[in-house]
Each structure stands twice: as C-alpha cells, then as structure tokens.
C-alpha cells in the first residue's frame, strides 16, 4: 500500500486560496463500477457548480455523464496487485495533469488511490463510504477515511465522533 505523502499538504494547499468570481472549482469524482458508480451519480447535484471530471472503470459509463470530461482507469482491488499498480500509475497521471481542487470518491480501490494522490497535490478530499457497507466500513474507507477532509458513512450506527460522520444516504 502507499504510504502517507511526505510533503505536508498545508504547505501546498491550494484549497484555501480565494477565488475570483466566475472561476469554477475543479472536482475529480472517482469511483469503481456498479453500485459505487450509481451512488456517485446520486450525489452529482452536490457538485453541479464545479467543473467535474469523472474517473471510473468502464468506458460504457461515459454516455451517462456525456457533458463532462471522463477518464477510464482499470478496475483494481487489493487482491490484484498488478492491476492496482496500473491503476495507481494512471490516477497519478490524471491528477498531476488535471490538478483538481477537490477529489471525491464513493469507493473503492481507485477512489482510495485518488484521494491519496489528491492529498499530495493539496486537494480537498471527500470520502462517502458505500451504502453497501452496513456492518463495518469498507476496507478502503477505513484506511482512507482518517485522512480524508470530509469522511462520511451512510449508516447512522457506523458514525463515530471523529468520523465517519452520518448526515444521510443516497436512498
């Protein structure tokens, strides 16, 4: 697994820079396939004022967000190390090139990696743990949550004072 970024984000942070009116924030929205993607689309309204770039794992999803920039990364989970590495390389490239102000994910592995890289470039990070995780947080969620700026669960019984917080769900 990747280690914590060496450079402390506060020193690089661009998220606190005041913006001139009319300049839209750039938000990278990342998810793997199936339910993770469907949940990402369910919260799309929250970032309609941003310039949104979607990153997911199936080319066939492009049509659902045709008005936005769209990247595909290969699907990866912690069981397939090589796929994870390829995914990491591609995400690092995307984030370096796009320099988003905010990185948001609904999981799983690609979102974890994206939040890690996002932090390195000083982006604000948001993790919404999948509604499928009802007994415990997802593996990626538990690992990334502590260093996400906003860490949310969709089940009240999983919320804790230091995060994840519960404020509602996609259903």
């Amino acid at each position: 697994m990747l280690r914590d970024p060496v450079v402390h984000r506060k020193t690089l942070s661009n998220s606190s820079t005041p913006r001139s009116p009319g300049v839209r924030r750039k938000l990278l929205a990342v998810s793997s396939g199936g339910g993770h993607w469907v949940q990402l689309l369910r919260i799309k309204r929250a970032f309609e004022d941003c310039e949104v770039i979607f990153v997911t794992v199936h080319e066939s999803y492009r049509a659902q967000v045709s008005e936005h920039k769209f990247y595909v990364v290969n699907d990866a989970n912690r069981w397939t190390k090589l796929a994870l590495l390829k995914s990491a390389w591609r995400l690092a490239w995307i984030i370096w090139n796009e320099k988003p102000d905010i990185v948001l994910s609904t999981g799983a592995a690609p979102g974890y990696l994206a939040l890690r890289f996002g932090r390195i470039i000083g982006a604000r990070t948001i993790w919404l743990d999948s509604i499928a995780n009802v007994e415990q947080l997802s593996m990626s969620g538990d690992r990334i949550g502590h260093c996400a700026d906003l860490w949310l669960t969709q089940w009240p019984h999983l919320a804790r004072p230091d995060g994840p917080h519960y404020i509602g769900s996609v259903l």
Binding site: A63, S130, V134, G168
Partner: protein
C-alpha cells in the same frame, strides 16, 4: 416483464437457474436475464452476459419486477425507477463472492422493508410465486438526502462543515 440481473463482477448461476426453472414451471416467456460471465444455458428465459448501463436502465424501466443479487447498483436503480425488487445475496461459502457483505446489505434493507430478500433458492421461488400476482403500480422512489447534498456542497465551497458531534475542516 421481469428483469433478472447479477451485475458485472462474476457469475451467479444459482439465481439464474432458479429463475429459469421457475419461468418454465409457470409458463413465463417474458423474462430477460443478465447473467455475467456464465456458461449456463437457460431454457425458458432470454439471456445476455452483459448489458451497458443505458440498456440496463431501459430493462429496469420496462420491468414490473427486478430479481437481482444484493448489489447496490441493481438495488438503487430499481428503487430509483420505482420498481419492486427481490434480491438473493451471493454467498462466499459457495464461491459467489469474496465475502458475505451482500448478506449483511440484504438483511439491513429487508429490515427497512424497502426490498424483498430471498436467502435461498426455495425462498426465491416462494417470493416469485407471491409477487407475480401483484400489480405494476409505481412505487415510492427515494431521493438522495437533501442534507447529504447540501453538506457536500458546503464543504466544496468553504472547506468546513459543522456536525453535532464535531466539525470537519481542512
């Protein structure tokens, strides 16, 4: 029409076979199934391994009933389009998934009464027998919590949000 789906992650022949046999026993010729990477030869239902998301939504839209594994993509889409859904969770012990989180998801949603859950093939047949006689009236389709939307939006704009039990900021 009935739409059966097992998602994209792997085959789930236990579900497809049960639906296929039930279709044969009940003379239902209006069932379409998305089977994943499966070699199962269905006798009574039309089947395709994969459908793209746009097509997937069309099938759910056209269906009066959705039968699915306990994957959130299928559950959310069915609820979103106001469809009745029966789910049968995949089981790790049968090699159908890496772990049993579908079992937990299914239990929790069943408790809330939003979906019907069959924990075995026998239960699925029973639920299908009960549900096929129901009408096709539109059902409650849930919205994403407005508070969730507004909190994420506020955080994007300001970098701060307040919680009852502590604040998040960056």
């Amino acid at each position: 029409m009935i739409f059966a789906t097992v998602g994209t992650q792997g085959k789930f022949d236990r579900l497809i076979r049960t639906v296929d046999e039930w279709a044969g026993a009940n003379g239902r010729a209006d069932i379409f199934a998305q089977t994943g990477p499966s070699d199962y030869q269905s006798q009574h239902i039309r089947a395709e391994r994969f459908v793209d998301p746009t097509e997937f939504r069309k099938h759910v839209q056209a269906a009066s009933l959705v039968i699915s594994h306990a994957g959130m993509g299928s559950i959310i889409t069915a609820l979103e389009l106001g469809k009745r859904i029966i789910v049968m969770p995949r089981r790790a012990s049968l090699g159908e998934h890496r772990n049993d989180h579908q079992l937990a998801t299914a239990k929790r949603f069943a408790e809330q009464g939003r979906i019907a859950v069959a924990f075995s093939e026998q239960e699925l047949v029973k639920k299908l027998d009960q549900l096929q006689v129901f009408d096709n009236t539109a059902r409650f389709s849930p919205q994403t919590s407005p508070h969730l939307i507004s909190t994420i939006r506020t955080f994007i704009e300001t970098g701060h949000v307040r919680f009852e039990n502590g604040d998040a900021s960056c």
